[in-house]
Symmetry: C2
Subunit: 395 residues, 2 copies
């Protein structure tokens, strides 16, 4: 006889993540915040109703892979090529500064001896704060009628590139995680990984083109696309020691070139994700965030980390934008608009705790900073660019 508890847990997760998501959306906060909150309330921090077991965590893993796959599929290559130049500069500075400074903060608080492990742990905390979550900013800018302005388009392209850079940095760091191999081997494996992505990418792209002739919107696209995502995730981990979410993301980037099937595929993946997998993923983060572990020292760390995470992003991206010739006001807008962290940050953090780079005690602080950064972005954005008139306003 099998146990049916997992059904009840899934039901509770679905009910409460959506309930809290709807509630946070009503006060113009991202639904992700509500879903995380639901996880925290259901987990060991508060009521301890749902236990995170093997099945829940595997389902959450599929959830994160699907989200990364969709993020890859949503890559707009045309827009990327058009506004690529300035966006690249903004993204590079906007990744470098937070990684260095946030990693530095971790090292200051928990560092000690300068070993490989300590450096990796610091780097991991830094990488968590590399990738921007642009969805909140997009929503705020749309509300303010500034989404089609130069500020808006530059921001979106930069956020896209900073995802890619974040993922590449992550692949390096996770590659170095294996203690048994030396630096040369790791570098070789990472190079081979990117060769693998390109070669498999070209092959699979043409294979999909071939099998989707007259079936651009058939179920087989969705099923095989998801299978490809899983294979890439598996190969990343097993063959190259690179994080599985990196593989899933590149699977999406490869298939985003299927102009006929891309949207269909993204839509089907989105449905499968939101009805079950992504709620479980966000709840699982909450389940793992034991706020009872937040002692005074960890809270102080979280406070400092928050300030550094926010300021480093504003300075990094703002400086990049200024270098590319944006006005002082727009540069500030770009910097502030990139402050929000979201899904990708949480995914990297979860990867970190799975792989042992983020300690149990530090994890709640990291999640807290991600959430608070996301929450203050709309407020900061309205304060900095809210009242300026804009020629390209679309209402």
């Amino acid at each position: 006889m099998q146990s049916y508890d997992f059904l009840l847990w899934l039901a509770i997760i679905l009910l409460f993540t959506k309930l809290f998501g709807v509630a946070t959306a009503r006060v113009h906060l991202p639904q992700v915040v509500g879903a995380l909150l639901a996880g925290v309330l259901l987990g060991p921090s508060c009521f301890g109703i749902v236990q995170g077991n093997d099945f829940i965590f595997k389902t959450a893993e599929i959830g994160v892979l699907m989200l990364m796959f969709i993020a890859g599929l949503d890559t707009d290559m045309t827009e990327l090529k058009r506004s690529g130049g300035p966006a690249l500069v903004i993204a590079c500075l906007g990744v470098a500064l937070p990684v260095l400074t946030c990693g530095g903060v971790y090292y200051l608080f928990f560092g000690g001896a300068l070993t490989k492990t300590t450096l990796l742990k610091a780097a991991f905390v830094g990488v968590v704060f590399a990738a921007t979550s642009v969805s909140i900013t997009v929503e705020t800018l749309t509300e303010m009628g500034k989404i089609k302005s130069r500020l808006g388009t530059t921001l979106i392209s930069a956020a896209l590139i900073d995802d890619i850079i974040g993922i590449v940095v992550l692949s390096f760091i996770s590659g170095f995680g294996d203690e048994s191999v030396n630096t040369g081997t790791v570098l070789l494996k990472i190079v081979l990984f990117f060769v693998f992505v390109v070669v498999v990418g070209i092959g699979v792209y043409w294979l999909f083109r071939l099998i989707t002739v007259n079936h651009e919107k058939s179920r087989r696209i969705a099923v095989w696309g998801l299978a490809f995502c899983f294979v890439m995730a598996y190969c990343s981990e097993r063959l190259f020691g690179v994080a599985d979410i990196t593989g899933a993301y590149f699977a999406g980037v490869i298939l985003c070139n299927l102009s006929q099937s891309r949207q269909f595929l993204a839509r089907k993946m989105t449905v499968a994700s939101y009805v079950l997998f992504s709620p479980v993923f966000f709840a699982a983060i909450g389940l793992r965030t034991n706020l009872r572990l937040l002692g005074t020292d960890i809270l102080v760390f979280a406070g400092v980390l928050l300030v550094v995470a926010v300021v480093s992003k504003i300075i990094g991206c703002g400086l990049g934008a200024r270098l590319c010739g944006l006005s002082r006001r727009d540069s500030l807008g770009v910097g502030v608009g990139m402050v929000a962290r979201g899904e990708v940050a949480l995914m990297v953090a979860q990867k970190g705790i799975n792989a042992g780079y983020i300690d149990e005690a530090v994890f709640p602080a990291v999640v807290l900073v991600v959430v608070v950064a996301a929450l203050i972005t709309p407020v900061l954005l309205k304060l900095t660019v809210g009242n300026a008139p804009d020629a390209s306003m679309v209402g």
Copy 2:
């Protein structure tokens, strides 16, 4: 560190179930047959590439619940009320005869002493062959231009009712499975289950009406609908000792009354089901079907069971149709059209092996009969009603 094997297994399952499904569809056979075949090939019968572990079986369980939930959602109450009379007679006779005769065949082969366990096992094998799978027949009749004829509409309504009757019979039999309680308690629990379904049904229906005002097609419908399906499945098993698939089915029947949201909900569930869950479900059946266990005696049993399963359905339904005044030819058509068994039969069979009512050795025979019955239905249908002219032909 966690294992990533489950990702590879999922990918292999998705790839091959769809590949074989597409292949069988090309030769006008149901895709389910292809998916089952893929499972058999990947499993212990042939190559043993994929191992059915806890995660795979739990995912398969969600798959079967989703399929039953969708079946419930697809209940067309209006059509049911319209052609309910004759359809009810056909369905009742078409369930009673196969249950008795197929159960009888099991008893003849493996019976022995007339104990409660033996009777339950026989009854379970009987119930597997209770529910018709109308999809194959619908496809064949559509091809033949007879789907809108009296034969067609009667057939569809009868198949719908025979699902419900099959599920009710299943709930009785699974209720009796618990050795520790006596018959009176079981009957009371089953009665209480149906009271529970009605009371919860009315409450949840109004609750959904309330929360879906202005949100008839919002994501929350899909998420909470699925949560409700899981809760009903859990409560059926835990509170009433009734099969979880019964609960999932009635969850669908309850929500099928939401005229605004029903189709939206069914569509989203269908996507979530076909991209991952139902392939895993069908593959899992294949994985559990060890054809190496098919000795001569089991093959003889399968042969006899096949003949009885086919003939009893033709006679039962045909007799019912004749009693309701259909012509001799149409009655034969109804009987033959109901021969095919499909998803529901496989779900009941899986339930049986989970709960210990269907033995490891008998399971492959049962699956084999279900598949072969599905395969021969279109052929039989064309032989019996193929050449008759029909006034209501729609081409």
